[in-house]
Every structure is written in structure tokens, then in C-alpha cells.
Amino acid sequence: MKKSVRLAATMLAAAALGACGTTNSTTSTNQPFKAAWIYVGTAGDHGWTQAHDDGRKVVEQQLGTAVKTTFKENVPEGPQVEQVVEGLVRDGNKIIFATSFGFQDAMANEAAKHPDVKFEQATGFKTANNLAEYFGAAEDADYLTGMALGAASSKGKIGFVAPFPIPEVIREINAVALGAQTTHPGATVQVVWTNTWFDPTKEKQAAQSLLSRGVDAIGQGQDSPATGEAAKAVGVKWSGYDSDQSNVAPDIWLTGTVYHWGPYYVKRVKAAMDGSWKTGSYYGSIGDGMIDIAPFGQSVTQAARDQINAKKEALKSGTFYEFTGPLKDQSGAVKIAAGTKMTLEQILSMDWFVQGVIGSPKGG
């Protein structure tokens, strides 16, 4: 599975970069260079996996006949992953991207077995000479999505369908709440945990439970757009995650956090081809375009668009950062003093909700 754990990215990256040298490439002139992706879900999930598969297609478009890409979908986490990797190596793939956190152990084992193949693991933290990590700072875009939710809500009651009570998701919810409170002072974000990344039925039920409690704008951090389907039934405006999911319910679509993996994939495949590939932990952001918000839906007012776009520019230029004090926790106690920016380690292990979030950061 995906996500999460962008570990002390900088520390590890520095260590790994220091430890590794350039590895030689094995491309021949006639054969296309083979690159493969391993997905935990289906390529057409309208969410997390589709965002990665769109990135794979960008590689095919930009590098043309010089590469041949393939993918394996619905791969269960565990021993099966190693066999899938073995098959890919046997087929001659020279770089393999795995897009779920739960693939990490298998990827690390296989990387040790096949030093001439490059391995890339999304959302993990283990690195080796031929195993690199990559992920993006979704919280930047989540803040902007939160602004759209706050502006769309008339009562200031926002719902959020959330996967697991882990720091990655907790800071996502916090960013949404902080964003919503700028466009709708005093707004609350009510959380329901699904304990799954991808399960459209559960996600829809969770959304329905929030809607029945009277939220009048709803966001989500899941891999499927099922929340949009629940919102459509009652006409409540909603935001998405992972991919542009506007087509599920375009009239009430606001925006959503999206990942653009394509440019990173092109860069890494190219580097593997010409022999300049090096390991590392890449942490994309809204500044370099790996993270962005989806195009606004028609229901977002011009005033809100202007406000959000201005904030986006400030985030890009670095003049604004969402996790800067004063930040209060749910009880109202000051957790981060005025003017202090949260450190990377604090963000990576965030286990508390900001004021205005309703629900427990421990799950349940």
C-alpha cells in the first residue's frame, strides 16, 4: 500500500546519496528500455493508482519507442510481490516502480537480489544503492482544497472521509481544517475513519454517515471517488483526492488534491537509460508541480477562486507555509507557538488534530 511514511526523508536521502555511486546502464541501442509499475489497486480506479498510471503513460508519450512500459495491477501485499518482481526482472525490465507502502519489504529484498535493476518505491523510507524513494507533500494542496470546502459550506460544518489514523492522513485533515477556517472562520471538520485506502462501499457508507449528520460540504482522502457519489445523492458539494475526479459529480465538484507523477517518472526512466540514475528520497511539492489542485468545478465562486489562487502562489514562492504557529489542538491549548514553523520530524509524526477537527486522531 501506498502512502505514507516519508521518513526522515532528508536524513536518509543524504546518507543514501553519500553512500552510492553511479551505476552503469545496460541499454543496448536497438532494444527498447523496459520499465514496469506495480499497483495495489486497478489502473482505472479514478484515484491513487490511476494517477500513477497516467504518469506511466506520460513516459510512453515522451520517450516513445525508446521505452516499453508495462504494469501489474491488483497485486496483494506480501510474498506475491516478490514473485511479481522476479517475473518483471526476467522479462528484462530495468527499472521498477512500486506504488504502495506495503510493497516496501519485498522491494528491498528484490533490490538486494538484482543489483543491475533500479527500484523505486513510492511513500516508503527504505533506500539502497539501487532502491530510491519518492512521494509528494499533499498537505500543501490539501490546505487549498480546505479553503474551497470552507467557502462552499454555509453552516461551516465540513465532513471528511479518512483512511487510517496515521500521521500522513492526520496532517492532511489538519491542513484541510486550517484552510477551511480561512474562508469560513470557525468551521469544523468532522472525521470518519474507514480503515482502508480503497473500498468504494465502505467509503460511500462513511460519507453517507457524515451527510446524515448534517455536514454541508464533504472532502475525502481515499483512493476512490465514492464520496462524490454519496454527495451527489443529496447535492452536497465535495472535493476529491489523488486524481481529477470531477466527472463523478461535476455540478457539485469543488477541487481536490492531485498528484502529477509523470514528470518524475520521465526524469527517472531517462536517468536509468543514460546511466545517471542515483538513489535518493525525492519529496515533491506544490512548488515543483508534483502536487497540485484539480481544476475548479463550476460551483466554486470567483471570489473563492481568487483567494485560493493567491494562496497557491504564496505557497509556491515560499512566503506562506500552512503549518506555522499559532496552532491550537482540539482542547484549545497552543501546540505550536506564534511564528514557529513545524519541523519536518514534527510533521512526519503528527498525531494530534488542530482546533475545529471533530473526531479522534487515534481512530474509532
Binding site: K72, P76, Q80, E86, G102, F164, I166, S349, K362
Partner: protein, 376 residues
């Protein structure tokens, strides 16, 4: 008029001819689908066979998948033989994994000779205990064990998720920075890793060896013991067993527990042989417990056939992943696998039943005949 009737005797040659025939049927049907979707049938079949069974290392990889399928297949076979429908091997496997990983963590600093038997025992006991719940409910309150054992799968799934994601349980790693970023279980020590035996270049996992022993024991149990005989009588006719004075309640609980013990051993093998950590998400994605029902059905509940079918399905699963690709969607792989299973099960019907076509009488009949011989 077409009638399907049970064969009184099952001809030996059919036992060979029908599986071969259903395999040919599966190849023909799926070749049509492959051609219609623009794929080369011959190359596809070759690759499926090669990657599932023939190429270097393929059998070792296949046994990794076959180990849990063998044990959950035996779990289903053990219960179904007595017409007791334990659909709960999925949850019993989770519980076995909980028990085995708990034992592995507790005895982590001990030598392998102590840890590994403890893990095996813990898997057997926890799986059996979980299965005994629907068993007792069935025996005492006559609840439907299909429903209760199935529902307990969801409970078991929530339980393992709770242990790692929602609580500070004994199984959860809490000390490292990584585990605060993403919840994970405690990894077992090297001593708790089960060994594998190398035979002719094939790595046979310890759990698979245990599974073969379990299969032989199950066969002996049903064939040569009083317990097995009584269970078979109960399976054939519960009322007859009752009149014969067989204590059906005890048997139901015992057979459910036995079935659960096999599934629990499957969970223990997943931990000891492959995962070395309680991994709620990976275990739930794999759904070995439900697949075990298919294994048992294909094997006609014969424990030795379960071994063979588990290896076949394991290879089919691995070979299936090798077929997938940008121009070969997972759905098409699933269709091929489904067709093979469907043809095999349909052929199974032909071994036990025959199709008889009866033509209605059309020749002119005398009124006298009509009076005495009525068309059936």
C-alpha cells in the same frame, strides 16, 4: 427431454478422461476469447505454463502461494466431508497468524527448536478455538454455521486491523520512529523464521511440508478411525447417525475445531515462512480462506488431491500475474483463470452424473399401448 441423473458406479476411465476433457474445453473456450481480444492463444498458454510451473524457480514461487491454499483447502475438506459448512477458514487463518506471531514475539530470544514448534502449536490452537465458536453454536443452538462462520471472518479481520492500527497491542511495534509514521507489527527474530527444504532445486517451505503431513493425517482419520467413520455417517445422514447412537454434537464441535486448526496452521505458516510480521492488510488482500473452498471442491474433498490442486492454483496465480501487462488487462487474466476453474468444476459434475437425452415417442402407437405405457 434432457435429464441429469446420478451414476450408480463411477467408471475409472472417467476419472482420467473428464479432467483431460475439461482442460481441453477450457483451452478451446479461452482461446476463442484470446483471439477475439487480439491476443496469441498459443503464446499465452505457453507463458502461463512456463511462468507458473516450468521455468527456473517457478515451482519454488508457486509453492509460496500453494502453502496457505493447501492448508485452507484441507480446512474446507475436513469440514465439508461431514457436511459441516465451515466458511470461516479466512478468519481462522487470521487468528492462527495472531497466535503464531504472538508466540514468535514472546519467545523471540529462544532457539528455533523452541520457537517454531510453539508457533505451530499457537496457530493450531487459536485457529481451532475460533472455529469452535460457530461449532458450539451449531451443536447447542442449531444456528446455521455457514452464517456464523462467515460473519466471524469480518470480526477476525477487524480484530487484526485493531491490533496493529487502532491499539497499542502486544503485536504492534511502538518503539521506532518509522512505526509512529506508519503503524506496523513487531518483526519476528531470525530464529522464528521457518526453514525451507531444498529438493532438486525447489525450495519447499516448512509450512508446505506440515501441510502434506496434515493431508495424510486427515486421510487416515477419515479412512481408518472410528472418529472418521462416525463423521462420515453423520455427513451422509444425520438422522441415521442419531439413531445409531453417534454423538453428533461432539462431532460437530470436534470437526469444526479440526478444520479451524488447519486454517490456523495456514496463518502460522504465512507468518513463519513468509511475512515474519502480523500484516493485517496483506492477509486480508490475499483471501486464502475463501480460495481454500475452491481448492477443496476441485479436489473432491480428497486430502491428497488438495495438495495437487493447491499447487495448480498457486501456479495459475503466479502465471496469471506474468500475463498481465499494459495490453493484457487483469480482467482478462481473471477470465482465463475463471474459465479453467469453471470447466474443471463442470467436468467434475460429469464424473458423478450422466446426461441422458430421452426422445419423446413419435411413432404411431396403438390405443392399447397408450393405456398401458404412459410416457414418463
Amino acid at each position: 427431454m434432457i435429464r441429469i441423473e446420478r451414476r450408480l458406479t463411477e467408471a475409472r476411465w472417467l476419472l482420467v478422461a473428464v479432467p483431460v476433457g475439461s482442460l481441453i474445453g477450457a483451452v478451446i473456450l479461452s482461446s476463442v476469447i484470446l483471439l477475439a481480444t487480439g491476443h496469441d492463444p498459443l503464446g499465452t498458454w505457453q507463458r502461463l505454463l512456463d511462468r507458473g510451473f516450468l521455468s527456473e524457480g517457478a515451482l519454488s514461487a508457486t509453492l509460496v502461494q500453494a502453502t496457505p491454499l493447501l492448508l485452507t483447502g484441507l480446512a474446507a475438506a475436513a469440514a465439508f466431508r461431514m457436511q459441516t459448512w465451515n466458511i470461516g477458514a479466512e478468519g481462522q487463518l487470521y487468528l492462527g497468524a495472531v497466535g503464531a506471531s504472538g508466540a514468535g514475539i514472546a519467545l523471540g530470544s529462544q532457539p528455533a527448536a523452541l520457537v517454531i514448534p510453539a508457533m505451530v502449536l499457537a496457530g493450531l490452537v487459536t485457529g481451532a478455538a475460533w472455529a469452535a465458536i460457530p461449532g458450539v453454536l451449531r451443536a447447542v443452538f442449531r444456528t446455521n454455521e455457514i452464517i456464523t462462520s462467515l460473519m466471524l471472518n469480518y470480526v477476525a479481520g477487524l480484530l487484526i486491523t485493531y491490533l496493529i492500527f487502532d491499539s497499542q497491542s502486544y503485536w504492534r511495534e511502538l518503539s521506532t520512529f518509522t512505526s509512529r509514521v506508519f503503524p506496523q507489527g513487531k518483526y519476528l527474530s531470525a530464529a522464528a523464521g521457518w526453514p525451507s527444504v531444498q529438493i532438486a532445486g525447489i525450495a519447499i517451505p516448512f509450512g508446505f511440508l506440515l501441510g502434506m503431513v496434515a493431508a495424510a493425517s486427515l486421510w487416515l482419520l477419515y479412512r481408518s478411525t472410528r472418529f472418521g467413520f462416525e463423521a462420515r455417517v453423520i455427513g451422509d445422514s444425520r438422522a441415521a447417525a442419531h439413531y445409531a447412537g453417534i454423538r453428533t454434537r461432539r462431532k460437530i464441535v470436534a470437526v469444526m475445531a479440526l478444520s479451524g486448526a488447519f486454517a490456523g496452521l495456514g496463518g502460522a505458516a504465512e507468518i513463519g515462512d513468509f511475512r515474519h510480521v502480523l500484516d493485517p492488510r496483506g492477509l486480508q488482500q490475499a483471501s486464502f480462506g475463501y480460495a481454500g473452498i475452491v481448492v477443496a471442491a476441485l479436489a473432491r474433498l480428497n486430502p491428497f488431491a488438495v495438495i495437487l490442486v493447491a499447487v495448480l492454483l498457486g501456479g495459475l496465480s503466479n502465471g496469471g500475474f506474468s500475463l498481465q501487462g499494459a495490453d493484457f488487462p487483469a480482467g482478462l487474466v481473471g477470465t482465463l483463470q475463471g474459465l479453467i476453474l469453471f470447466c474443471a468444476l463442470a467436468g467434475e459434475l460429469l464424473v458423478r452424473y450422466r446426461v441422458r437425452v430421452q426422445r419423446p415417442r413419435r411413432s404411431p402407437v396403438h390405443p392399447a399401448d397408450v393405456a398401458t405405457v404412459r410416457p414418463a
